[in-house]
Each structure stands twice: as C-alpha cells, then as structure tokens.
Assembly symmetry: C2
Homo-oligomer: 432 residues x 2
C-alpha cells in the first residue's frame, strides 16, 4: 500500500474528451485522478495504489472538459438578442458603443459584469478571453468578479483612439498610460485571471497606439487579442484607412500585434490564402464565432481551410452579436456553419464532425491557456459533470451519442457540477 498526497481527488463517471482534432476518447465507468489542480491520469479501472482514496462517484453521468470561450465582450451582456436586424458597423454605433460607455459607472459595471460571469459559469465555460471596455477601472472590476467566481480568464481593457463617437473614445497617450497602469494593477493579482492587450481593431486604433500596445505586450510578455476581417464593409473601411498595406493581416503584423506574442484574432471570415499562410506561420489563434457571424451578416468563416493550414482554432460566443452565452450552442452552430461552407465550396471543404467541433470548444481554444481543455494527464482539471437523464430517453446510447445529444439538446440544467483548475465552482456563490 502506498500513501498519496492529501489533495488527491478521484472522480468516477462516463468520461469523454478529445486528445486531438476529430478523435473522441470515451471511457465507460472511468476514473479521473486529480492531484491539486491537475489531472494525474484517467483510467478504465482504478489503479491499486488509489484503493484507499475516496472516490466521488458521478454514476451514469458524463464527465467532460470545461468549455473555453475564446472571444466575448463581457460589457455586451445586456445587448444580447437585441437589434439583430443591423450589420456590423451600424450595430457598433447604434448598440455597442452606447452600452460600453455606461461602464464608466462602476456601479453599473458591477451589476452587468456579475450577471455575465454568473451566466458563463452556469453554462459551463471554465476559461474565457474577454473584452471589457475602454475604462480601466471597471475592466479591473471585471477581473475581480471573474476571479471571485473562480473563472479562468484573460481580460482586456479595450483600446480605441480613432473613428469612434466622441463620447466613447480615448486620447492616444492616455490610452497607453492607462493600459500600462492596468497591467501593473492586475498582472500578478490573481492565479487564473490575467491581462491581455486589446486593441479593438485596426479602424479604431491609430498606428501610434498599435505600435505602443505591441511594445507593452512585448515588454510584459502579454498576449494580444483583437478582431480581424469580420465583415465586407469593414474590409473596405480598413482599405480606405490604410491603402499603404497590401492586406488587413499585414497591418497587425507590421505593428507587432500578430503572433509576436500569443495572439487571438476573432472572426477571420474573409482572408486571402497569403493571410492564412502568415497566420499559420505566426501561430495566431482564430476565435471562430459562428453565432455572431450568422447574426450580423450571414457569413461563414473557412474553418476547414484554417485547420488544413495548421492554424489553431477555438470557439467564441462573441457576446453581444452572438446571443448565446453557452459554448455548447456555439459548437452546433459551428457545425451548421461548416456545412454551409461545404455546400458553398461544392464539397471541397468538408463540414466539421461533432468530435472536431467539440475539440475546438475545449482543447482547441484551451491550448491558448496552457495545458487546458482536455482530461489527459498533466492538464488542468477543468471539467463539467453532465446529467443528461432528461434527454437520455427511450434508447440506450453510447457516450459519444450522449455527448452529441447534450450538445444539440441540452442546456444549463444538465450541468450539475463544474471544476476549474481542480476546484468546484458554481454560479450562485463566490468561490474566493
């Protein structure tokens, strides 16, 4: 008999995860051994050395990795499902900026951000790349709240110093100073919540600001997130502002915001092959936001093309253009979008399978956060326990079929337990 660390936990259930794109590993009545925050191993039968460690038995319930949301505007939570009859630039002016301007008020920010973070946890998101607003203080509050609920996140104070309404724009120098202050205040403050450099997108940030943000990212070794090629009107806009560049990607790249540090670019709908090749070479992540793409302009991103090029892809809700907070719903919309893309390309680019889309929602986006998004040994134990008894009717189903049915038919009621980095979290109580 051997003795184990006191912080060893063992969970038993019907296990499913995707160690690689398109490969779904399932273990019937399997065991997950967790030491502190990390998975020690996953086993079909419990190794003898653990025979005296108590097992938390979830019976016939599914245990799957937590969901990773690679792109969402926390400040847009109240705008979800409103005014979706408009296109991107119009939408930004009429809805987005007006809502974000309210976050200069910390009291309002606390209300909205608390609601948002609770929704994330409730719907099984365990890691997220979030955008706040241009206001430093309320963005720091968002990080406090995320940390309070135990969420893992990178959070950006948004930078924008041009082409925005007067009531919601920054002075360039002030934007840089506030960003550095934001970094100082937050970089070492939380175990799972970190700052991320967040120029809104090329049209809203001057070359000087982009250059300065790249310097900050480089100096503090911080990741970067932004938007890229979401809409045709936006492309024209970027071309008008920067006729000196050959394409959209080369602007970010020139200013040092394209993979010089780990980088997420949201949307990426209309990219040339040259841009895609650079994206792959620089290891830039695509945050695929199919719900928002459908809602705003009916567009579909060429995800199969990205995957074939070796690009890292994760899924994003893109709240508020995306109405869904749940990455589970983004999974099936990603599959639908990939079918539209397959048909549009006359079957040249095959649709995503469920296992592939599930990978994108977990390990695909999770790898941006380190060893996150899988239940393999060495990974952070981010997991959900799924009680699908209300949809598991009539026929017996395999674990893989049950996962598929949860994705298409389930909702937050089916998620009965959530773990982030080994700790239980829940949307009703602060964890910290």
């Amino acid at each position: 008999m051997s003795f184990h660390r006191k912080d060893t936990k063992i969970y038993r259930g019907q296990i499913a995860y995707t160690p690689e794109l398109g490969k779904l590993t399932t273990i019937k009545n399997g065991y997950i051994v967790v030491e502190s925050s990390k998975v020690k191993g996953v086993y079909p039968t419990l190794p003898k050395e653990y025979e005296y460690t108590p097992v938390e038995d979830y019976g016939n319930k599914l245990i799957i990795p937590g969901f990773v949301d690679l792109h969402s505007h926390a400040s847009q939570v109240a705008n979800r499902g409103i005014g979706l009859d408009r296109e991107l630039l119009d939408w930004l002016l009429v809805y987005t900026f007006k809502e974000e301007a309210k976050f200069s008020d910390l009291c309002y920010a606390e209300k909205a951000y608390s609601e948002y973070i609770k929704l994330l946890i409730k719907n099984g998101t365990t890691r997220a790349a979030l955008l706040g607003t241009i206001y430093r203080e309320s963005t720091e509050l968002l990080m406090d709240i995320a940390n309070g609920y135990g969420l893992g996140a990178v959070v950006g104070k948004v930078n924008m110093d041009r082409e925005a309404p007067e009531y919601y724009i920054e002075n360039t120098d002030q934007s840089i100073i506030e960003t550095e202050r934001f970094i100082h205040n937050t970089i070492w403050k939380y175990p799972l919540v970190k700052p991320i450099i967040t120029p809104r997108f090329v049209p809203a940030t001057t070359p000087k600001l982009m250059w300065a943000l790249a310097q900050l990212a480089d100096y503090y070794r911080l990741p970067v997130q932004s938007h890229l090629s979401e809409d045709k009107e936006e492309l024209e806009y970027v071309k008008r502002l920067h006729p000196e560049f050959k394409n959209y990607v080369s602007i970010y790249n020139y200013f040092g915001l394209f993979g010089q540090q780990p980088t997420i670019m949201a949307h990426c709908v209309y990219l040339s092959d040259e841009e895609i090749a650079l994206m792959a070479r620089k290891g830039v992540y695509v945050a695929h936001c199919p719900v928002a793409n459908f809602n705003l302009s009916g567009s579909v991103a060429p995800i199969r093309k990205f995957l074939l090029a070796g690009i890292n892809v994760g899924l994003g809700t893109d709240v508020g253009a995306g109405h869904a907070v749940s990455i589970k719903d983004v999974i099936w919309q990603a599959i639908q979008a990939s079918k539209v893309y397959e048909l549009q390309t006359n079957h040249q680019y095959k649709a995503l399978t469920t296992a592939e889309a599930f990978y994108l929602a977990t390990k695909g986006g999770g790898s941006f956060f380190g060893k996150v998004g899988s239940l393999e040994a060495g990974y952070d134990f981010d997991a959900l326990v799924i009680d699908d008894s209300n949809i598991l009717t009539i026929h017996p189903r395999t674990i893989s079929e049950r996962l598929e049915r949860f994705i298409y038919l389930g909702d937050d009621r089916n998620i009965i337990q959530r773990f982030i980095a080994g700790r239980k979290v829940n949307p009703l109580t602060l964890s910290v």
Copy 2:
C-alpha cells in the same frame, strides 16, 4: 350594465402579435377578451361592458400567440441530435427508417409519442402538422395522445410503396386501404385533431399511390402534406425516376397533390422560378425548416423570394433532422438562414426581420388551420404567457425588444401558461 356569456374570459398583460407580415402590434397593459374558444377583441383599456367580468391578470408578463409547427416527424423524437454528420438520403436509410419501423409496436409508439407531444406543449407549440409512420394504428394513437394533451394538429399516416428498405415499405393497395381506414377512424373523432394525406415524397410513392391519395384527399376534402426539393441528391433521384416530367413540382401537380386541396410542402430549397410561380398560383404552403436544412446539408431556402411571390410560408421544426422542438428556436435560425441567403444573393433578397419571422411562426403557418396564429378578433385563442423576468435584466425594454430577447435567449422555462382554442393546456397533465 350589460350581461355577458358565462364563458367570457379576460386576460391582461403585455400583448404582442403580428396581424400582417412584418407588422408587430404591441399593447402595453392590454386586455384580451375571449368568448369560448375565440378572441372577441384586444383592447388597451377594458371596455365598460366588461367591468363586472373578472380579469386574469398576468401583470408585466408577455401574452403572445401560440407557435405553429408546420412540419415535424413525431416518430423521430428519439433521433434528434444524433448522427448529424450525414446527408439526406444516407440519413434516411441509416437513422430515419429504422426508427420509424419501431412504431409497429404500439407500446413503443405510446412511449415515444407521449414524450414528443409533451415536448411540443412544453415549448409553446399550439398547432402542428405532424407525420407519423406507415403504421395506421400507431398513427391513430398519436392523434389520441395529441388530442389528450389538447394540441391542435393535422396528423398523417405516411405512405411509401417504393425505393424503401424491405422492412419498412407498403404494398400499394394495402397502403390505399389502410389510408382510407385511417380517415374513417379519425376524421370526426376529435375537435382539434384531423387527418392529413401524407405521401412521403415522390421517390417513395408510385404514381398509382400518388393518384389514389389525391382521390382520397379530394373525396374526403382532406389537406395534403409532403416533402419537396430538400437536397440536391434528392433532385437527381427524382429526375432519374421521372424523366418524363419537366420538374419536381409538376409531378405532384400532375397527380393532384399540389394545391387541389390545401397543401403543405416542406423544405422547398431548390425551386425554379416556374415552380415558385405555380406554388403561388395554387396557394401551396411552404413549411420552412431552417434548422433541418442547416443540419442536413447547410442549405438555405429562398424565403424572401417566396414571400415576394405571395406564397404562404410557415415554420417547421422537421424533427428529427431538426434537433429543436421549439418553434422559438426555429424563428431565430430562420432569421440566420435569411441572412445567409441575403449574402449569397449579394443583398438582392433582404433578410427577415424579427417581426417577419415571428409572423411566419404564428399567423403565417397558423392560417393553414383557419383563423389561427393571431390575437385579432375572431381568431382562435391560442396563446402563451411569457415570464421573461430572468432575461429582462438591467435595462427597461419595450415589448418588441422583450419579444426579440425571448426568441433569442429564452427557453421553455419562460413559458408559464399555454392556451389552445381558449383552453389552458400543460405538458404535465392530460387535458381531456
């Protein structure tokens, strides 16, 4: 003071309905007066004559028309959210027919159909055009169950006598005899549930059977439902079987199954302008099934084109290719699909607005059932009471915005009361 019929009921709340395509009527703190099964009138202030009639006050909750599902396979309830990596004809063989074959067993049928009808009621469907299977007895059971829960429905025994697997096919004469027996057994049996003639689709029904079914529809004055032009492979298949016809529509029309009686055709993705014109002339309904179209092949139907041609359009879940049972979810997917179509046609055909898609989901499909799908005077009182307090957060919202948010963000939990033809129904107890 005047006296009123004892069966007069008055409901108060935040009222929304669409008297015509694209026009949303909203009444703050309005009153709906219902006499027996029908709406007598909707008023912003209660007419003096009703001052002594008690009012059922739903306070700040929304009151909207019930949802109409114009196309769904009741027998596919257990197949939802499974195996969506396949295309139509493949899917039919691997999943659909095998599942339907189980409905020769009445015990199995009772279990599955009860679950399905409960799901419909739970999700706010008040009228539905349903397909059973080729088995008469279990299809009659489906009608019993629908009637038992108070649902309004037309229900079809499916006919198929060719190009189907041996274990799930009918002999032509037997199919005709059984259909006439089905009609006799059900035509006068229920107040709100009626039979509908249901050839599966051209590939699965011989000319003799199509002709005979048209005769039955004509003799008994029964409506007709079938599938039309869902998938490109299917089009090729129909062309191979019937090279003597110029197009798909003309086959149904030749055999008398295209508007000679009120007719619903599901999908209608790939129709020529000539076919669309005939459809308009014959008053044939399109059951638009965007969720199923996305799921099976990534296709989008040209709904704006249909509406401009004056065609009647309703929404269908198309369970099981459609995973959603809720027409609410079909509404926002219909809007998404229309945005894809707008983009594909370079903005020639404008996307649906929320008010337009809501019309399709209520009065659009409802008109197939008579005066159904609106809260105007003379309409059957089919209605839902929506408690959106969990999504009505932070900002005050107009009734129209609240309706939009319910459509995008709500679920069955928000539906707290359901009326069908004036009567309260609920998914937990039999109403009859």
